[in-house]
């Protein structure tokens, strides 16, 4: 009888207006262009939504995800976002992967006065030069991830550095930040070669040869995905990495590390996500829930999607409203727990302090893994506030 009654009450609650009027998150992303990252991302989001709704929703209202493919181009992304805003009447925009798409949607969000949580784009500009009051970014930016690697690079006291990067904004700004930060940490350091490879079309043999010719002591690379795999295999075959220290942004992310398998180069310093080794309480709870739900281990994309949805839910709870201005106030300075530990959304530039794991690559049973890793808290790798104020023209 008691159970029946509680069921009845639950049923009435579910149909009460407070719960039935759900809050819509409009998520748009390049699912077909970057599926390796975004399929796990989507699973992470869905897990988070299920968790939140099972616990009674955000501020008493159900969360609903409305997902759109942005086709990987700013033009289509803006149209998808417009559809989410005007037809679906979403309360918050979320998502995007590539920097140019992220920047375009951020700009639209400011124009339409809708909060936009840019979960994945790495470009520094989205919170700095082109930052606006409606846009918040979750992941550690290119600058932050470079800054996490630089202390290790400076420790080595290597004189001659060669650089290789994919020839577009991410690679260019990673290179620029690295040169600036390393020169500050280690005055007199030399950059002896720079190779800009067309994205997805690196001529790996020639690039490896040219890098070897420059006789560097160390290499800094921001290659990823197919370019990284080609570079690693050619470099291994041609012995480029023997007696050389290599630093590679993002190479420890399972999305990019797993395909390397037995080619995984030992000893490289990378940023990434050693999912199988992180045993904090928060992470273990996330990993178990994810594996139970999807019968698959989490990727970095899973963490990003999961955390982005939880961030929106936290903000809704704190604002107790889906009004854009109230959400902005709630997100500014919001502190929350994530699988990576506590983070804060900075009010100065709307960047979250989510960090990344810095460590070295190793081979274990023919597979890549990260060793000697530690968590680098994003809050410690950001420039001083006055520099940010100069960049951000609000």
């Amino acid at each position: 009888m008691k159970r029946l009654l509680s069921l009845l009450v639950a049923g009435m609650l579910a149909s009460s207006p407070a719960l039935s009027q759900s809050i819509k998150i409009g998520e748009l992303n390049s699912y077909k262009v970057f599926p390796a990252f975004l399929e796990p991302y989507r699973k992470g989001m869905e897990l988070a939504v299920e968790e939140i709704n099972r616990a009674g929703g955000a501020g008493g209202r159900r969360l609903e995800l409305v997902i759109r493919d942005d086709g990987g181009t700013p033009g289509d992304a803006v149209r998808a976002a417009e559809e989410l805003i005007s037809r679906e009447k979403v309360d918050v925009l979320m998502g995007t992967f590539a920097s140019h798409v992220g920047l375009a949607v951020a700009n639209l969000a400011a124009q339409r006065r809708v909060v936009f949580v840019a979960s994945e784009p790495l470009t520094d500009k989205i919170v700095w030069e082109n930052g606006n009051r409606y846009t918040f970014r979750l992941r550690p930016s290119t600058y932050m991830q470079v800054a996490m690697l630089v202390p290790e690079a400076a420790k080595l006291k290597k004189q001659r550095w060669a650089i290789v990067y994919p020839n577009y904004e991410y690679g260019q700004s990673a290179t620029a930040s690295f040169k600036k930060l390393l020169s500050e940490a280690q005055p007199g350091v030399q950059f002896v070669a720079e190779q800009a490879a067309p994205l997805n079309k690196i001529d790996a043999g020639a690039v490896v040869q040219a890098l070897a010719d420059a006789k560097p002591d160390a290499i800094f690379s921001s290659l990823f995905a197919a370019d990284l795999q080609k570079f690693v295999r050619e470099g291994n075959t041609r012995g480029l990495f023997r007696n050389l220290q290599v630093f590679n942004l993002l190479a420890g992310e399972p999305e990019y590390l797993e395909p390397l398998k037995s080619e995984t180069p030992e000893g490289w310093w990378v940023t990434g996500y050693p999912w199988e080794q992180i045993d904090t309480v928060e992470h273990r709870r996330f990993r178990d829930a994810y594996q139970k739900r999807w019968k698959q281990h989490p990727y970095l994309g899973s963490v990003v999607g999961y955390t982005a949805v939880h961030a929106v839910a936290e903000a809704l709870r704190r604002a107790d409203s889906a009004d854009s201005e109230k959400l902005i106030a709630a997100l500014k300075g919001l502190e929350m727990s994530t699988p990576f530990g506590p983070i804060r959304w900075r009010s100065i530039d709307h960047q979250s302090t989510m960090g990344a794991y810095v460590g070295q690559l190793a081979r274990r049973d023919g597979k890549g893994a990260m060793v000697n890793w530690r968590y680098a808290d994003g809050a410690k790798f950001l420039p001083p506030d006055e520099e940010i104020r100069k960049l951000r023209k609000e």
Binding site: R233, R238, P259
Partner: protein, 608 residues
């Protein structure tokens, strides 16, 4: 750079050239005989890669390579028999639309079958290490590749010169109607050629796996490379393709070796532009023989009848009245449709009545868009002026590039437009200080009085309708008739005193300028622009819209633009595998309406 690094980069260049040649040989063969511009060639290559990686886990690498090539060959012959065979007699380029649909289908098939994660294949057993050359380690497998290129060239050459089948293929390349008239079964010949071409694509893919992972981005990257090699070498010439592959492979390697890595983004297109300007038929190519069935026989497009004109006017009125009834998003979508309709109509203007095919029309769309962005953000012009002056950028580009392009014809012309488009793209992509580089320009919004979606819809609609009406009107002016005369019979046109080349140049410039108008409107409707506005996929979209609507009709391209834009918008929302869904739909349309939608409706009405 000392002599040992010079030697090593030379070898790197040779290895790169061999893989380029493997990609291009099949395409050259297929085009030479069937005249099919096979967009799906890169997809066949990608299939070869995935199949080889998957098979080599089961059978080992060396068994996997021929098996993968064989599998792709079977698929190729199937495609030829079930699909292409039915549309050889359709207007030229419709096959291009069919193969475009295949690209979409194959991509989603691969995603479905093998998942999203890149697959790095095994090293080739027996060739997994390196040998020492001039004190450096050089991969054994690259040496093998360097040898494989010439071996394939030689065996193709022998097949083509010493076997009966080869003789027939060469004869068909020269004059396929005559071969048919002499009693050779063209169907079997075409199927065979397509099968061999597909096998070469699959082989190329399979042989690439020790050097690069199988990934979903391979197809488009490979197919543009293949086209460049084939065109630089001369269409249908296998030795030409080899020479071109050598040239491009070596230049690329030395660009990297000498520290000019940034130029590798575009170097093959620079080479192609130079070669085509100097030698309009490629290095070893010969002037394209005329085909007798297709081309030149379309009944001329007639002026819309009174009834059709009335219907069009009614449509215009309905569109103008729409904001009273429609929701906001419908206006946003219709703004896009209006812009793309103008873009497609401008392409059709030069391509249909002008006979000037363009694979790079997005260059002028993008120049207009960037013109708008630059004038607004960098020059600080008010929005109205920026919008009005932006097409001048496209006009300037079209004037310059058009002068070179109209000196060529057919696919060579199309490829030169592509080369110029890619060169423009790479300048925009890398000129950070001016164009914002790969991120593009952000904050290109209309003036406050046009900021509402309704106001902007009216602006876009009125400008686009006026521009489309103007372009259609021009087609039935003396200029338009002269343009058509130049397409149908350059000799006779010349004989009656028409300066064909100047007329074509003017048409090129006009088409480019109006694409620029569309681009400028597009920029202000999105608030930001990035290099993708002038990239290859954008050009392909325009081609698809024109062909879908009907190349030899008047209003077809506008319908094609509306249908394609609407499809992309609605299908991508409803299906996970929306690319495959669009591919299947396009394929169905190609089979059901081989003359394009408007063209087929017209043909059906006339046949009654």
């Amino acid at each position: 750079m000392n002599s040992s690094t010079l030697l090593l980069q030379f070898l790197n260049g040779l290895a790169g050239a061999s893989s380029l040649f493997l990609i291009a040989a099949g395409l050259s063969l297929i085009f030479g005989v069937t005249r099919v511009v096979n967009f799906a060639h890169g997809s066949l290559y990608m299939l070869g890669m995935y199949a080889a990686v998957w098979l080599s886990e089961r059978t080992g690498f060396w068994v996997a390579v021929p098996l993968a090539a064989l599998g792709v060959a079977l698929l190729g012959s199937l495609v030829e028999m079930c699909l292409l065979r039915r549309i050889y007699r359709a207007p030229e380029l419709l096959q291009l639309l069919a193969t475009f649909a295949l690209v979409l289908l194959i991509k989603d098939f691969v995603l479905w079958a093998w998942g999203p994660v890149d697959m790095l294949g095994p090293r080739a057993p027996g060739f997994s290490g390196a040998v020492e050359i001039a004190g450096r380690a050089f991969p054994q497998y690259d040496l093998l590749l360097i040898a494989i290129g010439p071996v394939i060239l030689l065996s193709l050459h022998l097949t083509l010169t010493k076997t009966r089948w080869g003789v027939l293929v060469r004869a068909a390349t020269e004059d396929r109607e005559m071969v048919g008239a002499l009693g050779v079964d063209q169907r079997r010949l075409f199927t065979g050629v397509f099968m061999v071409g597909a096998a070469l694509a699959g082989l190329g893919g399979a042989l690439a796996i020790p050097r690069e992972p199988a990934s979903l981005e391979v197809d488009l990257a490979v197919v543009t490379d293949a086209f460049v090699v084939v065109v630089v070498g001369g269409l249908g010439s296998i030795p030409g393709a080899f020479v071109a592959a050598l040239l491009i492979g070596l230049v690329k390697a030395f660009c990297v070796g000498l520290g000019y890595s940034k130029i590798t983004l575009v170097v093959e297109f620079v080479i192609m532009a130079i070669v085509l300007v100097v030698r309009p038929w490629g290095i070893l190519g010969r002037p394209q023989p005329l085909t007798r069935i297709s081309g030149a026989t379309h009944s001329p497009v007639s002026e819309p009848s009174r009834k059709a004109g009335f219907l069009l006017a009614m449509l215009a009125v309905a569109l103008l009245a729409l904001p009273g009834f429609a929701e906001e998003y419908a206006l946003i979508l219709l703004t896009d449709i209006a812009v793309f309709a103008l873009f497609a109509v401008s392409l059709h203007f030069m391509m249909g009545p002008g006979g000037l095919i363009s694979f790079g029309h997005a260059a002028y769309f993008g120049l207009g868009a960037y013109g708008a962005g630059l004038l607004l953000l960098r020059a600080g012009l008010p929005m109205g002026l920026a919008l009005a002056a932006a097409p001048l950028f496209a006009l300037a580009g079209a004037t310059l590039f058009g002068w070179f392009c109209v000196r060529l014809s057919g696919v060579y012309l199309a490829m030169l437009t592509l080369a110029f488009a890619q060169i423009t793209w790479s300048v925009v992509f890398q000129w950070d200080a001016m164009t914002g580089g790969s991120n593009g320009l952000v904050g290109v919004w209309p003036a406050p009085w046009l900021a509402s979606k309704t106001a902007y819809y009216y602006l876009a609609l009125i400008v686009c309708m006026a521009a489309i009406a103007f372009l259609w009107r021009v087609l039935f002016s003396p200029f338009g008739y002269a343009l058509r005369a130049g397409r149908d019979s350059p000799l006779r046109a010349d004989a009656i005193g028409i300066d064909v080349r100047s007329i074509q140049w003017a048409a090129f410039v006009l088409a480019g300028t109006f694409a620029g108008v569309a681009g400028a409107l597009y920029a202000f409707s999105k608030g930001s622009i990035s290099p993708e506005t002038l990239s290859v996929p954008r050009s392909v979209d325009a081609l698809v819209m024109v062909l879908l609507g009907g190349l030899h009709t008047l209003t077809g391209p506008a319908w094609g633009a509306a249908l394609f834009t609407w499809l992309e918008d609605s299908v991508s929302r409803s299906f996970d595998y929306w690319r495959a869904a669009i591919g299947a739909l396009v394929l169905a349309l190609v089979m059901g309406f081989p003359l394009g939608i408007a063209g087929s409706i017209r043909a059906w009405r006339f046949s009654r």
